[in-house]
Structures are given as structure tokens and as C-alpha cells.
Amino acid sequence: MRSPDTASFRRVPVRPLLAKELREVLNGRALWTMLILLCPLVGYSFFQATSLYGEASAAARDSPAMASGLSPLDGILVPTFGAFYLAVTLLFPFVAIRVLGREKETAALSLLVQLPYRAATLIAAKMAAIAIAWLIALIPALSTLALWEAIGGHLSAPETINLIGGHLLYGLLIGAIALFSAAISESAATAAIITLSFTIGSWVIDFALAGQPGVLGLLSSLSLTQTLRTFEQGLLSTGLVVGLAAAILGFCVLAAIWLHPGVPVRAKLARSLACTGGMAALLVVATQIRLSADLAEDRRNSFPAADQRELAKLNEPLVVTVHLAPEDPRYADLRRNVLAKLERVMPRVNIRLAGGGQTIVGSSTEQSYGEIEYSYSGRSAKSRSTSHREALPVLYELAGRPPPTPIVGEDYPGYPLVAEAQIALPWFFAALPLSIVLAWWWMSRPPPVPISLAQDGGTT
């Protein structure tokens, strides 16, 4: 039964809560320390990447074929943002944890949960503050883009935005995990250990289990480090975005479930179980979403344009039976060069791994090992090539269509640039850190007190 005195709490302003959460992030040391550490980390990565890119460009100056292999996405953006990824993985959890962890340690949480906000609103406000903290932490990485353009480098907006979007989702996922860890821990130190066990544990899983068959392979695909690779290849995968959003939402809901100290642990566990089930269901749905967009300027995730158009017209089911062990490097090549592209362009593609438990050691002596069988329109053909140049003619033959004429002038030209990034060093090692320190000082200044509040009276 509802209290008779509840009506006046129905309309609660969210803006003061957001402002408070933001102040909590900006008044603490964690974000500013991370920013200062990010400057040399990102700056040196950018400097190194630009130097290496320049060396490769010098070699490719007179060779269009070599030049076409020079993409700023691979050469500059991915290594530079790689340093940012490292910082987000190892340092950002400490920024995110303190958004809730400090309140738990100082018992301020007992005041917060008495305010007329739902637990979901409190967590949403904290996530908003974490997102803003991430955006602030992005400043050093964003400044590398400005520097790259300033020295004459080329940037493709779609692939750059896609990469930053991927990092944003990754940062929010780390933030959500950190919030959940803080919600279930009594101290920030314990929360940090839990969060780092997710992130560093992901590295271990990725390192130890990648390419393994069966359950181990499935486990490795859940690694957090895998999430950025698709974005780094210039691919915007709806399934991945939905999966990441589901994971972020799931951890936020878990954090909300564990936020209130007045709820019995048994009830929290039951709700967590339901939430985890929902999150798992959403992740399964996400794996079934095939919609994606190739945003890489060099269209590395697609076949040549003429082939794309022709293949899109093949409406009958295509079954590809692969006689390779999942850990075989040829399977990885085939997957990247042919199968993933086919899945994206053709409406009905079914890929089967012949003998699910096959391993290289046990199967490589079999005669059929290494064969790839394509079945389309009641006919089938075999190939051993992992290149689209040989696979596509096989497909066209099965479909009874002539190979399309290549479109002239669609080749990626590449963007070689021989440039020195010396300007980056004083910027990242002096000017930017100094600006951050000044911003820190400016943010921590005492607020001006309105005259109406400045006069004392009453008790002394």
C-alpha cells in the first residue's frame, strides 16, 4: 500500500543529479590523471605510426600498387587509437568505479538511494557521467586526427567515425562493467580487481583460446578485445553494435539491481539471474543479425563493386562446406577473404564446417582436407583456394552467369604521406598536459556564492 505522502515526489528533476554526477567525475583526480597519462601514450603512438607510415610511403612513392596498400586507417588511426584502447582498458575502470565506489566507501550511497530517484535513473545518470568522462579522455586521441590533417594526412570520415564509435561502445562497456563491479563490491579496490579481471581476463582468453574449435572458440569470441577488431577493419556490424548495446544495458541493469542496500541478497540474485538470461537472449539475437556496412574507404570488407552487384542478384541458397579445422590459418584467410564477404552480400548463405571437431593434426592427412565445396542451384563445385579471385568464378559458373566486367577506376589509390610528426612531441609532452592541468585547476575552483546565501546568521 502506498504512503499517503508520496504524491509530491512524482516529478523529480534529473538535471541536478546529472550535474552532481558530472562534478563527482570532474572534481576527482582519476580522470585528470588518466588524461595526463594519455598524452604521452597517445602522442608517442601517433609519432611512431606517422614515422613508420612515412617510411612505407617513401618506398611506395613510385609504385601505385604499393601505394594502394597504404591506408591511414591501418597505418595511423588503429595504432594511435590502440594506445587509447590500452588506457581505456587499464585506467578508465578507475575513473568509472569512483562514480559509485566513492559513494559506497563514504556511505553517501545511503543518502543517494533515499532521494526520489529510481535505481535505474541513478545508474543512467552515472553512465551519462562516465560517457562524458570518456569523451573528455578522447581529447588527446582526437588531437592526433587534427595533427594528421594538419601535416597533410588523409582521413575518411565514415571509417574514422566508425572507429571512434567502436571505441565509444567499448568505453561504455568498460564503464558499465566498472559500475556493476562497484555495485557488488564494498570497496573501490575490490571493484577494480573485478573489472580488471574482466578486461585482462579477456586478453588471456583471447590469447589462449583464439582459433580453438568448439566451446573454447565460442568463449574466445566473447572476449572484450574482439569487439574493436571489426570497427578497426572499417566494418559497421549491426549485430556487434546490438550485442555491445545489450551487454552495456545488461551490466547497467545488474548495477541497478545491486545498488540498493535494503534489498535482500536472495532477491538480488534472483533478479540478476533473470537479467543475465535476458542479456544472453539478446546476445544470441545479436549473433543472428547479419546487417552490416563496409565503411572502409578501400572496401576491404567487400568484393569489387561489379561482383557485389552481381552476387546480390543470386537469391537461391548457397551452401559452402569447408573441410578445414577452425584453427587452420587457411580457414581464417577463407573467412576473411570470401566467406564473411559472401555472408554480407548474398541473402542466403549457409556455411558448414565438415567434421565440427576436426583438428589440423588429425585431419590434414585426409584427402578431402582443405577442400571448399560450393553448392548452388542444385549444382556443386570444389575449390581449395582461399582467395575470392578463384572462388567467385566458381560461383558464377554454378549460377550460370558470366563474371561481371570490372569497373574501371574503382581501385583504392592509397594515401602515402612522407611527413614528420615532430610537432606532435611538444604538443603531447608539454602543451596538452599543461592545458589539462590548467583545466583541472579551473574545474576545482570554489564556486561563486550568491549574495543571498553569503550572509551568516543563526548559530556560529
Binding site: M1, R2, S3, P4, D5, T6, S8, F9, V12, P13, R15, P16, L17, A19, K20, R23, E24, N27, G28, R102, E103, T106, A107, A108, S110, L111, V113, Q114, L115, P116, P261, G262, V263, P264, V265, P446, P447, V449, P450, S452, L453, A454, Q455, D456, G457, G458, T459, T460
Partner: protein, 250 residues
């Protein structure tokens, strides 16, 4: 003074029943019974003292009433209706003891935050600051406050809430004698303004000075409950102070 007035009008005329009734609250931590079937009434506009030595279960009881810890059994009634845990914060505000919230924020921001959440106008905010003498520390960070000013800040936050029932854990902790008297006056005005207070106090002298009613707690059990007169009648100690009554009942 506006700051002392509750957000909603309490009409106690014709309502002889209690504002809040604690009914059979029990809480156990492993092998320790922190609260054992605790029951008592809190009438409107009174200052009820929750009295007991350290470890008697005062803080646990306040947290249980506020819904900040799960209990094993029992509940809270609000004007004779069950008050579910998820709605406790709509009617009751609990001010914990010894906390220093949002330490890296400035005092002004923390106070403004509470005022904004509860739609308190600037005049109420100014009155609260003036009443508790916080003007001089508004530009300080919470972690730079002395214990006394931190306690004043906490009281200011409680006074900014519109709840008709305030639970306060050791509200005089951190104050010297003169300051304690001043804060007592503030709390008396709060009660006169239409709010009900439940104060957990371990200093019996302080409790006797400010409270109208007492709940004597020891080992998680209620040992006595009533006004000073009622407790005297029950013990037969005519003219006894709270200290003697407490010793007689516990």
C-alpha cells in the same frame, strides 16, 4: 521560519493513532541478534529519543526503518497503513552518523543539489544555510570541513528534505556543549514547524533535554517506551532522571 516547515501539512487533529508504528522488527547478523521484535509508536510532531548504549542496535534500527537494510521480519506502518520498503523514502528521511558525502565537491554544490532535487526555493536554501551557520564554508570542499561543520552540513541536507519524519543518528556528535544547545534549539523549531523527529542518542543528558518520548533499547530489544512521566510511573521511580530510569529498565 520556512526551512523548518514540513513539505506537507500534518493534520493530527482527529488522528489519535501514531504517525509511524514500528511493528516487530527483527534482524540477525550471523549469530548476533541485532534487533529482536522491536515495536514502538512515533506520534506526530514529537521528538522521540532512541536511547541505548553503543551496540544496542540504534543505528541498525534506524536503517531498518528507513529500508536501508533488509530485515528478517516485522515492518513499518504509516498512519496505520503498511509502508512497503520501496516507499519508505517517500515519507521518511534518515540522516546517518559520521558520514562525509561527496567529499570532493564544494559545500554549496552539495546543498544546492538537495535543494534542487526537492524543489526548495532559494529562500528556503538561504534560511537553512543561515540557520546552521554554513555561509562561511560554502566555498570549501566537503573533505576540508571540520567535524562540526560536516555535521551542520548533514543537518542542512536533512532540513532541506520535505519529509514529515526525520530519523537522525547521533545528531549532536561532533558538537561542543554550546553548539549542542544551539542545534537542539534548531531541532525543537523543526518539530514545532510540523515535523516529527526520531533521534538516536547515546548521551542520556542530551536526550533528556530535547526528547518528548523515549524508546530505551538494549541488546536489540525495547526495554522501555514512553514519556519521562510514563517511564517513571512504570518503574516507580518518582522524580528520577533518564539515567536512573535507563539503569532500572535495562
Amino acid at each position: 521560519m520556512t526551512v523548518l516547515t514540513a513539505g506537507r501539512t500534518e493534520n493530527i487533529a482527529g488522528h489519535p493513532s501514531a504517525l509511524m508504528r514500528v511493528a516487530g522488527l527483527s534482524k540477525r547478523y550471523d549469530d548476533q541478534q541485532a534487533l529482536a521484535d522491536v515495536s514502538f509508536d512515533v506520534p506526530s510532531n514529537e521528538i522521540v529519543g532512541l536511547i541505548g548504549p553503543n551496540g544496542a542496535g540504534k543505528t541498525t534500527l534506524l536503517e531498518a526503518i528507513a529500508g536501508l537494510i533488509p530485515v528478517d521480519s516485522g515492518g513499518v506502518l504509516w498512519r496505520d497503513s503498511t509502508l512497503p520498503v520501496e516507499h519508505r523514502r517517500d515519507s521518511i528521511f534518515f540522516l546517518p552518523d559520521g558520514i562525509r558525502p561527496w567529499q570532493e565537491q564544494h559545500v554549496l554544490h552539495v546543498i544546492e543539489f538537495f535543494a534542487a532535487v526537492y524543489h526548495r526555493p532559494n529562500s528556503v536554501l538561504a534560511d537553512t544555510i543561515r540557520l546552521l551557520g554554513l555561509s562561511s564554508v560554502l566555498r570549501k570542499r566537503v573533505d576540508a570541513l571540520s567535524k562540526g561543520f560536516c555535521r551542520r552540513l548533514m543537518l542542512a541536507l536533512a532540513l532541506l528534505t520535505p519529509h514529515s519524519l526525520l530519523l537522525m543518528d547521533e545528531p549532536f556528535d561532533g558538537f561542543d556543549l554550546r553548539q549542542t544547545h544551539e542545534i537542539m534549539n534548531v531541532l525543537r523549531d523543526v518539530a514545532l514547524g510540523g515535523r516529527t523527529l526520531v533521534l538516536a542518542i547515546h548521551q542520556l543528558i542530551d536526550a533528556e533535554r530535547i526528547c518528548n518520548r523515549f524508546v530505551l533499547l538494549a541488546d536489540g530489544r525495547v526495554r522501555g517506551n514512553g514519556t519521562l512521566g510514563e517511564l517513571r510511573r512504570r518503574t516507580g521511580l518518582v522524580g528520577a532522571g533518564l539515567e536512573d530510569l535507563f539503569l532500572a529498565l535495562t
